[in-house]
């Protein structure tokens, strides 16, 4: 399966298992979603379980919160993460706080799916990575898969989870992994081991990172599309890096991170999102606090620049092989 099929399969499996799971969003019903992630679901489960909504993100999330209060388990889609902002009040003030403010009387077991990230010439409003906004909010979980296998397992876990979850899908790798070499042909998931996805039920626990490449020279903390870019750069540079796919940003798998950095003594953080107050800043602070005496070089943050996401200059903006390579030289200088 590619990642879209895996995500589709996760929803299919969960709708089959739990009559309270419903899917809603702009174009998700009859049409099956602009990325095809919900294709076939309405035909299979009917219009009262999979339906199109008005173009109103605050309405989509507000309605989902109300459905959650009733006892349903909604999986709303926001067509692009760049368009999640109109729903921020409902997410931040309502979904994230409902359990807390009602001392558990009401909960918001919703899973907000949204394609995110750049590398597709999406320009300013089809490329953003707003995960740092959500990791800053108490009461929501933030999950970002990097393979079809993980996408399905994590999405099933998110739908089953009783807390509101933001599930960002890196659209650059919907069809195949992307190593950052935008000028070379890309692979399909069918050629990648993580493209093998069981058709039935399985889940991947939220809050657990995955060491995708064990190594000794440095630790690379990464998620989403950048997992594949970082992996490729490390292989090409011949560096024995330990690459950790965080998979869940909140709650974060701090143990895996801490153990790795204490072992390698070096830490590089890579994300597409803009640098200032990005999630990399939190990761850097945590590593610094917990691994200070093991660090042999300053922590490197390789990120998007602090600008809106550009269109024509995309590959100058994207934290690709060159930027990661330069950071690698710096961090390994005295090794």
């Amino acid at each position: 399966m590619n990642m879209i099929q895996a995500i589709n399969s996760a929803m299919d499996v969960m709708m089959g298992r739990d009559p309270d799971v419903i899917v809603m969003g702009e174009d998700v019903g009859y049409f099956g979603g602009v990325f095809r992630a919900t294709a076939g679901l309405q035909a299979k489960y009917g219009k009262t379980r999979v339906f199109d909504t008005p173009i109103s993100e605050c309405g989509i999330i507000g309605v989902a919160v109300g459905m959650g209060a009733y006892g349903l388990r909604p999986v709303p889609e926001i067509q692009f993460a760049d368009y999640i902002y109109p729903a921020l009040d409902q997410l931040v003030s309502e979904a994230a706080r409902l359990r807390y403010r009602s001392a558990g009387e009401f909960t918001a077991p919703i899973t907000v799916r949204s394609p995110f990230g750049g590398g597709i010439f999406g320009g300013q409003t089809h490329s953003q990575s707003p995960e740092g906004i959500f990791t800053h909010i108490s009461g929501v979980k933030t999950v970002i898969p990097s393979t079809p296998y993980d996408a399905k397992g994590l999405l099933i876990a998110a739908i089953e989870d009783n807390d509101p979850t933001i599930f960002f899908e890196p659209k650059r790798i919907y069809n195949g992994p992307f190593d950052g070499h935008w000028d070379k042909p890309t692979q399909n998931w069918s050629q990648h081991p993580a493209g093998e996805v069981p058709t039935g039920y399985y889940k991947i626990e939220l809050g657990k990172a995955k060491v995708v490449r064990p190594g000794e020279a440095l630790t690379v903390l990464v998620y989403g599309t950048m997992v594949h870019v970082a992996l490729a750069v490390m292989e090409e540079a011949g560096v024995d890096a330990e690459v950790i796919d965080l998979r869940t940003l909140v709650p974060l798998d701090i143990e895996t991170i801490e153990a790795s950095v204490k072992k390698t003594g070096r830490c590089m953080i890579v994300h597409e999102a803009t640098r200032t107050s990005g999630f990399g800043s939190e990761l850097s602070a945590l590593v610094q606090e917990r691994c200070f005496y093991h660090l042999e070089a300053p922590i490197e943050r390789v990120t998007g620049f602090d600008t809106p996401y550009p269109h024509s200059l995309e590959w100058a903006y994207f934290p690709g092989p060159v930027r990661i390579g330069e950071a690698l030289k710096k961090i390994m200088k005295d090794a």
């Binding site: 419903i22 009262t48 379980r49 909504t53 008005p54 109103s56 605050c58 309405g59 999330i61 507000g62 309605v63 989902a64 919160v65 109300g66 459905m67 959650g68 209060a69 009733y70 006892g71 349903l72 909604p74 109109p86 009040d89 409902q90 003030s93 309502e94 706080r97 409902l98 359990r99 807390y100 403010r101 009602s102 001392a103 558990g104 009387e105 009401f106 909960t107 108490s138 009461g139 979980k141 989870d161 009783n162 807390d163 809050g207 909140v250 709650p251 974060l252 701090i254």
Partner: protein
């Protein structure tokens, strides 16, 4: 400068534009004259069939459904013909809400709690609606519908525990006073963020419909809050999916210091907004408990028979300050509440019962006394669980409960930090 770009001889012969900024009719010190407020006679508005098409409500959206006339008689097609027992029960609930408000307002002034909000003059809006809805219907209130809980017979002691954030507070001291949450009584958790409950009520109603349930949802917001984007999305979703929901707009003329003109009331009514969404819209005398009851019952029947949503504008007046933190004397004339042409909802229902020969002033005065005692007794009981001024009442580690279903490591670490700080502080209310 932009204005310099066009040569004078090419400028159109028009007066310069001017920006209109609404201004209320009366400010502090002004003599109030409400004769310009149009009040149709009781009994005049027609009562449509609950299955009528949404497009046929335009006239009603600019009209005013009223049942009680100036002589205390119930008249016209909206007269719900309630039994004297039900009328007396409603009157009692409304009077109890007022007694509760008075007591809790005073408790705030005495420093027993940080904050309170009265609903004086708006008791009918919540109480009469509660009588018209089924107990299983879900209410998504704003912060001024305490009457729902009281009319549903919920414990005043429990409400006060929340106001005092004391040891028995069901919300563990997490919420500002009056932001109740009582799932058992069909009362959704109140949020400080205005109108967020509107689309949530629609979602709840959609869920009920999708599951083939028979329960409906009702929600409330103020006139000022209709300006929020959530109001628009809620109306759109409710209309699109014909959600079994009742939208109540409590038009009490004031949003803190800004008069309803800043929510658009100078140009239209709030009920009229329903028309554009394809929702049935009713405009009701919000100080007439029988009109509120009848309109709510009508909207509930419409919702329960799959005819879709209704928006009810309750035309009323916020007789007192916005909250204990507000002084209305700074922005409006002190004469407004008494001059309000729709009067006082409790007095109007009382006069009706007296006109029916089912009540009298003596019984009313005795009831007021009894209710004041009842509230006082509840307060005494609630205060045995502590008041806010006494310090922290909840075990400190509950501060971290309920952020997530299970506490992640970073919250456990912060919880341990807080407990250590508390131990180090040596404060008298240290963690127990």
């Amino acid at each position: 400068m932009a204005t310099d770009r066009v040569p004078d001889h090419l400028k159109p012969n028009l007066a310069p534009l001017s920006l209109y900024v609404p201004e209320p009719k009366f400010r502090p010190g002004d003599t109030v004259d409400f004769t310009q407020v149009q009040i149709p006679a009781a009994g005049e508005a027609r009562r449509p069939d609950t299955a009528d098409a949404a497009g046929s409500f335009t006239e009603l959206a600019y009209h005013l459904v009223r049942v009680l006339d100036d002589d205390g008689q119930a008249v016209g097609p909206w007269n719900p013909r309630l039994s004297p027992d039900t009328l007396r029960a409603m009157l009692r609930s409304m009077a109890l809400v007022r007694a509760f408000d008075e007591r809790m307002f005073r408790a705030q002034r005495q420093g027993k709690t940080s904050f309170y909000m009265k609903c004086t003059g708006e008791e009918a809006v919540a109480v009469a609606a509660a009588y018209a809805l089924d107990y299983e219907d879900m209410c998504f209130p704003s912060y001024r519908q305490q009457g729902l809980l009281i009319a549903r017979g919920w414990s005043m002691v429990d409400m006060m525990n929340q106001i005092y954030s004391n040891t028995a507070d069901r919300l563990q001291g997490k919420q500002l006073p009056i932001m109740y949450s009582v799932k058992e009584a069909g009362f959704f958790s109140i949020s400080g963020n205005l109108t967020t409950q509107y689309p949530q009520a629609v979602g709840w109603a959609m869920a009920s419909a999708a599951k083939g349930d028979t329960r409906i949802a009702a929600t409330w917001c103020g006139d000022g809050s209709t300006a929020e984007g959530d109001f628009h999305s809620a109306c759109t979703f409710a209309s699109v999916y014909r959600a079994p929901v009742i939208f109540n707009v409590v038009n009490n003329q004031w949003a803190i210091s800004s008069f309803s003109g800043f929510a658009g009331a100078e140009s239209t009514t709030f009920a009229a907004r329903a028309v554009g969404y394809g929702i049935a819209g009713l405009r009701v005398d919000g100080n007439d408990a029988l009109a509120v009851y009848a309109a709510t019952l009508w909207a509930a029947e419409r919702a329960r028979t799959n005819q879709g949503p209704t928006l009810i504008e309750h035309f009323t007046y916020r007789a007192e300050g916005h909250s204990t933190s507000d002084d209305p004397g700074q922005y409006r004339s002190a004469g407004e509440p008494t001059a309000w042409p729709l009067g006082d909802p409790i007095k109007r229902l009382k006069d009706h019962l007296i006109a029916l020969g089912e009540w009298d002033e003596e019984r009313h005065a005795a009831q007021d006394k009894e209710l004041a005692e009842q509230v006082k007794a509840a307060q005494k009981e609630a205060e045995t669980n502590g008041v806010l001024g006494h310090g922290l009442h909840q075990p400190l580690d509950t501060l971290f409960d309920g952020v997530f279903e299970e506490m992640p490591w970073h919250l456990r670490e912060q919880q341990a930090q807080m407990v250590a700080e508390e131990t180090a502080s040596g404060r008298p209310w240290a963690r127990k």
